[in-house]
Symmetry: C2
Subunit: 338 residues, 2 copies
Amino acid sequence: MKNVNIRALARELKLSLSTVSKALRDSYEISAATKERVRALAAEWNYIPNAYASSLRGRKSKNIAVVLPEVADSFFSIAINGIEAAVKPKGYHVIIYLTHESYDGEAAILKDFQSGRVDGVLLSVSRETTRTDHVQELMDKEVPVVFFDRVLETLAAPKVVTDDAESAYKATTHLLSQGCREIAYLGISEDLYICRQRMEGYRQALRDHQLPVQPRNILTCAADATRNFQLVKKLLQRANRPDGIVASVEKLTTTVYQVCQQLQLHMPGDVKLVCFSNLEIATILQPSLTTITQPAFEMGKTAAEMLVKILEKKVLTEKDIRVVIPSELVVRGSSGVK
Amino acid sequence: MKNVNIRALARELKLSLSTVSKALRDSYEISAATKERVRALAAEWNYIPNAYASSLRGRKSKNIAVVLPEVADSFFSIAINGIEAAVKPKGYHVIIYLTHESYDGEAAILKDFQSGRVDGVLLSVSRETTRTDHVQELMDKEVPVVFFDRVLETLAAPKVVTDDAESAYKATTHLLSQGCREIAYLGISEDLYICRQRMEGYRQALRDHQLPVQPRNILTCAADATRNFQLVKKLLQRANRPDGIVASVEKLTTTVYQVCQQLQLHMPGDVKLVCFSNLEIATILQPSLTTITQPAFEMGKTAAEMLVKILEKKVLTEKDIRVVIPSELVVRGSSGVK
């Protein structure tokens, strides 16, 4: 039953194409009895309404949705450029949807795509997202999904990620080599796969250097900048103050610098900092910021190329593909090197 | 002929609703002769297909498009938050389209909206946009457009702007009061209305202080950061080096700080800087950055509220409305005040 289409349904049911189409769309113009007949056969033949809608129109929407938690983070704004670089030559339009780190928002957006509004989806999940059913449901409707950066590890969909664990390991090891012995880790989620990976890299580096992993040194920050400021301030006011910080997200940069200013702590003398960040401005901070720079453009581009490939083949052959593009440790002033 | 709808056309032509609908959509199921009859009457009655499409579906898309030049600028990422705050309680979804400062991109996006894909549009035009016909055409299809920030001044559509001329005047006057006498102005476009306004504010401030407006002090920067760096470097290497700079866009901040670092110029001693910026990071720069802070959230929110009002009334009664929300000069270290 591979080539079920609207025409086959209409022929079998001895109905017009238009009637079958309307019945499937639950149109008020069609009687309940007819709708029931159409739906029963569609279900029996495992017919997928979305594919129908597209083929009836005779064209795809040529729209690719990019679903992101936010755009204030430079990782995402650069990744968008990579995505557009990959899909524009192929004639696709990029449409951006923001979840604002809300699972409900994300689920509602994906639900909306089931009607065939977009041809495919590039997804980086919200901080709250632990369930996978909203994505699985969309994939079941044959709308291809490619994950990038923030992935749902257990889903059988292509993924483009960076080496989060290795990068955090590298950042922590770098701080250790600069003499730090009490290193704090600032995270934003205990659920997100990439956050767990980063934290694991940090822990592993400490263990490999025979240092204890101290719960007091692991902070989970939130969306609220004022609360983050208080958390980090409390951390840096402690008697056994951390002498190094690995900040796992870009926006915590401002927080750490502000707290150091207020407490009159000197970077890198009193505390050294490495931040996961793609901020262009890292170079002009004083001290300049040591970063884990993610390959944002390449990640967006690679994920988009993969999606286009799937769309052009019209089959999901690559769902087990996982591409890892390494991040780079860029050492600058905040970790004690000029 | 105010209440022309699909039913009226069908009644007059003695055709079914479905036939008229298909004829208007140029369906292959309808004969050329019938299409001609339908189109002729639709034209005579000045019937607008889009309104039809929506009403036939019995619902609006509930999607609001936000068309922006980019998201890397914090003004736009904050404005998006304001927009979502206004429309979410009303059940609308926000979809973001980026023009990447291209007129062609903008025109293609707006063209796509003519089919009724979105209920209304919030628009901030690209740097290249001088023509208005692509927007007028969309408005002619009764898709309401509300401008914010970067407006097309001559179009009869609602606009939400900030006091660009006054802000640049204020920035320049502030630098004059700090002792600057050779003040440079960094712009990004000679076409964009808001850029012309800002430049005019700068010029007026100089004139009001009996200072000449020197063409050598007015630079038009581009998208290319390397080229901007060279331009600003050349400016600050001049024999009669500017002692003050008004930078009209956020991303020039990094450029000016980088050039000063490389030329070992001291801010605010050697040169003072005011930048149009909403960067949270302004406070942690050294020196901290004096900014013209735009009411990004409020501008987005106000524009979106206006659009929702229009959508709910289903008439464009407010097309002459122009809301001005003032920006704020926030004095910090880069202009010589601690």
